[in-house]
Amino acid sequence: MADTEATTTPHPLLPSLPDLGGPRQPLLTVRGLSRHFALKSAAWFGAGGRAVVRAVDGIDFDILKRETLGVVGESGCGKSTTARLLMQLIEPDQGELVFDGQTVGSRSLPLREYRRQVQMVFQDSYASLNPRMTIEDSIAFGPRVHGLPARAATTRARDLLARVGLEPARFAGRYPHELSGGQRQRVNIARALALEPRLLILDEAVSALDKSVEAQVLNLLQDLQREFDLTYLFISHDLDVVRYISDRVLVMYLGQLIEIGSAQRLFDQPLHPYTQALLQSRPSTDPNHRTESAPLAGDPPNPVNPPSGCRFHTRCAQAQAVCSARMPTLVEHGNGSRVACLAYEPDTGYRANGSGLIMKEPIHG
């Protein structure tokens, strides 16, 4: 990154962040991340044992440098909790984060330094901005916290506004309620970039926007990624958007990772039954192949009491008896893909049919 840095800059910057591990080193390594929430009200005298929501239950994955990693899943699968755990906004119960080879929270990478390198854009564009602060003050807050003098921070804020497509002279002195949703989200992106992070977590960042605005913001994100050498973790429930923007995709279900793979592979040839059903749930736009029935029945089960064994087996069309007894592990499936399903795990007692679970017909939509 030091090679591509601009030669002249008219204002002082924050100290630049070196690329320590080199291009092969994953930017962020997540191992065994867990977070459970205890429910308060369910304690009955004598019944004992408090109910626990296993929001994130032991996930492992890597985020590679300069990639866009998409995360999909239904409501309650733990995507947002994962994002907040990565940001250290919530404390994990277990697990380890290694950023560019250094353990987060260790002496070589204290939390404050980590926070300069990872930033987040939230879903609710209005709630993420202090209603009493002007746009430029909101953006300048981060740099000022890290030592940039006020004047320089304001100039930087204005530069960023220009970069995300908002004319500084018109917008810098405005308050959040004076902007539209799309404009606010651009501000949030500018604010996230103010600290020159290397990893940007986008938690449903475009979900609340109108489609046309969404497209603009997505294009902006792609431009910014190229320009600033960013890595993205893109969380969304909108499958089409994830497909458009992601290099690789993660699928989560009830707090667990159930499939990982390249975006192209995952969307064309989904391995896990849940992924297949999810992709088939999108209403078809091809009049010759109409979606007759919903492939995924019912609501996601209660995260407080997950089903035994494979958590998806209650809704799985290919479930067998062994699925309720045994929890599948995430196994390699070639080409960087991994899937957690007994059908792909040898010697588990799952009787697979000859062609495996790969769909006979390609997914339409």
Binding site: H11, D124, N130, V145, A162, R163, A169, A172, R174, E178
Partner: protein
């Protein structure tokens, strides 16, 4: 890294004068308030009362302390004493003007003191959460378990008469109420995404409270506190009425109500006069406070 060349930088950053700066929240509140006739009327009354109270020693037509047994309880309209004289022959108008000083003082100061102390406690409890919150708020709950009149009287009764004692007990009465509001508002703000974003940028809790939390909570707390001023006035004058608080011969509206009680049958209008002033002041503060709350409502 952010800007590709000095020329682009110059083009992207117009001179300061070109920057539009929107009206801040405070300015908006003031504007809305100015457009509210009731609130403005109330504000005018309050201003008038304060001015008269402050300037009283120079404005009083007669000596508020000069007694005259000969002219006791003269009715309203007596030449030389337009509002009559009290039970010791002192000119009532002058005593009412001077009495306003203490009455207003006892109305505003306890609330002001409680505002600062309780805001600090409430914001600390609200932001810190957990054990700190429990410790502070449970202690406050004990005070809150008393009806405010009772608490004021209990403390004043134990401490004895006197202005300082009354101020102390009134401040203690208002602290729990304001602290509760402060804690509640701070907890709400604490949960918002922008505070999370501020945490995510690595700021210390102190910086976050100073920059993000304070601006958003002070408003509602302040509005609530202003609604307590009239209560404080009534409580303070009530204490004087009972013989706590202000002691004779200091003029204070509540005290005057007490001493004039004997005149109910002889000069009823006279006896009611100090209460009229308490009533007017109280209404004015309440209407202003209501107007302030309405002006602060987020669109």
């Amino acid at each position: 890294m952010l800007v590709t060349s000095p020329d682009a930088a110059a083009a992207a950053t117009p001179p300061d004068a070109a920057y539009v700066r929107s009206r801040g929240h405070a300015a908006n509140v003031v504007r809305k308030l100015l457009r509210n006739p009731i609130a403005m009327g109330a504000a005018a009354v309050i201003l008038l009362l304060i001015v008269v109270a402050v300037a009283a020693p120079w404005l009083t037509p007669a000596d508020p302390f000069e007694t005259s047994m000969f002219h006791r309880l003269s009715p309203i309209g007596t030449p030389g004493s337009p509002l009559g004289t009290d039970e010791l022959g002192r000119d009532l108008l002058s005593r009412l003007m001077l009495g306003g000083r203490l009455s207003l003082f006892m109305g505003i100061v306890p609330v002001l003191l409680a505002f600062f102390i309780a805001s600090a406690l409430g914001i600390l409890a609200g932001y810190a959460g957990g054990l700190t919150n429990s410790a502070i708020m449970r202690t406050i709950d004990v005070l809150y378990a008393f009806p405010s009149v009772l608490l004021a009287i209990a403390l004043s009764g134990a401490l004895g008469a006197g202005i300082v004692n009354a101020l102390t007990s009134l401040t203690v009465v208002f602290i729990p109420q304001i602290a509760r509001v402060a804690e509640s508002v701070t907890t709400q703000v604490r949960r918002s995404d922008y505070v999370d974003a501020a945490r995510a940028s690595g700021a210390s809790p102190f910086a976050i409270v100073r920059v993000h939390v304070l601006g958003n909570v002070i408003g509602p707390i302040f509005v609530y506190a202003t609604s307590l001023i009239s209560v404080s006035m009534i409580l303070a004058s009530g204490l004087s009425f009972l013989g706590l608080g202000v002691t004779p011969p200091q003029p204070e509206w509540g005290l005057m109500l007490n001493t004039l009680r004997t005149a109910i049958y002889v000069q009823p209008a006279l006896a009611a006069l100090p209460g009229v002033l308490i009533f007017i002041t109280s209404i004015a503060f309440n209407l202003f406070s209501d107007g302030l709350r309405a002006a602060m409502e987020v669109k």
